[in-house]
Each structure stands twice: as C-alpha cells, then as structure tokens.
Amino acid sequence: MKIVIIKYNAGNIESVNNALIRLGVSAEITGDHKKIRTADKVIFPGVGEASTTMAYLKKEGLDLLIPELKQPVLGICLGLQLMCSHSEENDTPCLGIFEEKVKRFIPELGMEFVTKVPHMGWNNITNLKSDIFDPSLEGQYVYFVHSYYAAVGEHTAAIGNYINLFSAALHKDNFYATQFHPEKSGPVGARILENFLKL
C-alpha cells in the first residue's frame, strides 16, 4: 500500500509518519502531484496558521489537487480546518471540501478559568459516525491542540465538547478529517489510524 503525507509549510508532519511506522507501515512525505494522485491513501496533517498555509497550497497548486482526490484522504488538525469552506483565522477562504465553517473559540464570560483557549489536552469524542471509528471508540479521550474549530454540521462525524459543541471529526465521501491528533492520542489514536488504513 502506498501512503503519502502531503508536504507543506506546516509543523509536526514527521510525527504522523512516526505513528504510521509504529503501525508497521510507512509513508512518503511529498508535495509531488503525481505521487499524491497515485497513492492509495493520502494524509493531510498540519499545525500552523490558516492564511499562510492556504497561500502555500495555492502556490504549489495543491488547493486544486486535494479536493479532486478519489482515494481516502485524512486531514488532521489544521488539515481538517483547511478542508472546510472558510476559516475565521485571518478571514481565509479554504478548500471547500466540507461546507462547515471554521470559527474561533470564545470563552464564556466568567468561565475563563475552565475554558482556556487554545483547547489543549485530552477530551472525549462522542456521536461517532464514520468508518474510521468503531463502537469501542465512543466517548474515548483523544488529544487536541486548537484555537479554532469547525462548527457542527451535516458532515460532522464526531462531536467534541469545549465551550460549545464542535466537529471533532468530519466525513464526506472519500474525505475524512479529525480535529484531534490521532498520532498523539495513544492506543485510541492508533486504532483510528489503523481503521483509516484499512479503508
């Protein structure tokens, strides 16, 4: 099986590859269009800022390539947000694979002590609806680091709960995305990556 991790100007791409190696597979980290198009699985990870990352994707023509991919694609963290239609982070139009919009967490007045932003740490996922999840994962804890979130919508595949409900995962056709980091989420995250690889 050929797995490709899309290379772009985002942090922590290597850690996704490390997680795959722990599962006994490995991926090529590349920005090459042909390699991306012909891979069996594509992973679109990322930690960073939306507008500079979108600008980079445009420069490399990846903004047109990614939405047209036919094989299973997994977006992670910023990857999920960029797959949505629009992000409030520097008012950035995104790839539009999911119609959901990306908003900033606003702590409730008087609740700042329990609702710090970024949402960072272990929180649970519920209402799972996607083939990258299985029943054993309902309510399990996964690792999040984010200040922006995709609103709950038609393609929500897992619900997270922090300040308000948000999309902890999205799924539409061959496109999958998680707001949390499966590569940093212990055995639960490994299970999700395994499920994605089995698609």
Binding site: G48, M111, M120
Partner: protein, 289 residues
Amino acid sequence: MISPNWGRNEETRALIVLVVFFKERNSFPFGEGWEGAFFMLAKRIIPCLDIKDGQTVKGINFLNIKSVGDPVELGAMYAEQGADELVFLDITATHEGRKTFVQLVKRIARELNIPFTVGGGISELKDADALLSAGADKISINSSAVRNPKLIDDLALNFGTQFVVVAIDAKNYDGRWTVTVNGGRIPTEKELFSWAKEAENRGAGEILFTSMDHDGTKNGFANKELAHMADMLKIPIIASGGAGNMDHFVDVFTEGKADAGLAASIFHYKEIAIPDLKNYLRMKGITIR
C-alpha cells in the same frame, strides 16, 4: 462517562449534577451547546524525566543525582501506563551532550504515542527549531527566558504559543516569591507572579511552576501559590514540586486549580503507579482520561 470536578462551589456542583443527569439520559432540556462550559478537559498527569548524557536521573532538591534508566524505555512505559504527557529535561551542560539530546529526542518521537515537551539549554531559536524538527511537541524554557524575556515572543511568533512552555523555579524568601535560575541555585530580581503574567503576555502557551521550597519534600504542592496564579492567568498551569502521595494530586487539582500535575521521583521509584493514581483521582471526582 463524564465526571464532574467536585472542587468547586456548591452552586456549580448542583448545576453539574443536573447537567450530568440529563446528559446521561440523553435528554438535555436547555438547548445544545449550553452544557459545554461544564465539561472540562481531563487533568493531566505528567512524569518528568531529567536527562544527563542520555540517561534519566532525578535529583533530590536538584542535588545528589541518581540514575534511573533509559529515557526512551521509561517514557514508553509511562505512556502505556496512562501518562497524559511527558517532560524530558536535559540537564547536560556540554555542547556534545546537547547533540546527544537531539538524537535522543528523535528516538523518543519515534517511540511515544503521546505528546511530550523537551527543555534544558534552549537559549535561541535554532535550539528550539532543532528540537521541534526532531519531533518534540513543545519546548520548555527557564533561565534563558529570565535572562532574555524576548525569547518567549520570538518562539511564540515563529512556532506558535502552543509550542512554548515557560518553566519557572521560584522560592519564598521572607514572604516574597522570587524567581530563581540555574536549577534553583541563584535568586533573581524577578517576582514569581509578575513574571508569570509577563510570560503569558509575551506568548507563553503554558506555565510550568516549580516551587523550590516544596520540591523534593513530598509534603504536597504549593497549592496556595498555584491557585493564585490560576486566578491571574488564562493559560494552563503545570504544577511541579512536592508530590508525595495520591492526595497531593487531588489537592493540586482542586485547591491548587492546576491543569496538570508533574512529578518525577515518586513515579521513577515506583512509590505511586500511574494507573492507581488515575483511578484514585477518578474516584475523587476529578476528570481524568
């Protein structure tokens, strides 16, 4: 299962009971989203590994260092036992030692499936860059930030605030909480709380506060100071120094209002097993993964 935090006032407790009641019966009557504020992130348990020349060590009050094993092996074991995060602090002073540490971080990143922070000897951007490229999720700066506070701004700007942990070692000198450097040996002009606030303003994503008065004593964390800090800051606080038994962790998450509890020797010397600690905290009503 969602477990509420019992360390808060009676009114909040009553509300949480109500929310959990409806939530468990899947019939929440107040509209979706409202309950969000009442469910919190899990409190984190963080074992800390001090590294010297590639080996784990732990000092009692930062002196009399004893070796306790291979960091990668120890880290993976803690991850498997349910540690939520790990901190690796390089206490090697030499240039050669630093190169060894970057290699070690690469090995840690390949092995661990949970987030980890690395610190020790980071005084410029390129040090941090080398460690992040090696696979660290966050970096922790301490004395170098005291000497050059602008380092916090630079790191936050280049790598994002979530990458930057500012560690503060402080000691109470005649009622004034004073920031110390060089492993607690040298007091500085800085006062603990104003320095913590400044670090937050400059872009720290988290504060790791070690009370040098509590470190190594096993008499509990500096809960009063931690709570005061939590009331002042909007970023998460990792409490360090003083853990001796499981109740100390209960206290640090309730009285101390900490987001995470860090300890070293009690885990390394197997005085407390992480699964037992997490079960105990859960039993006490604290939100734990």
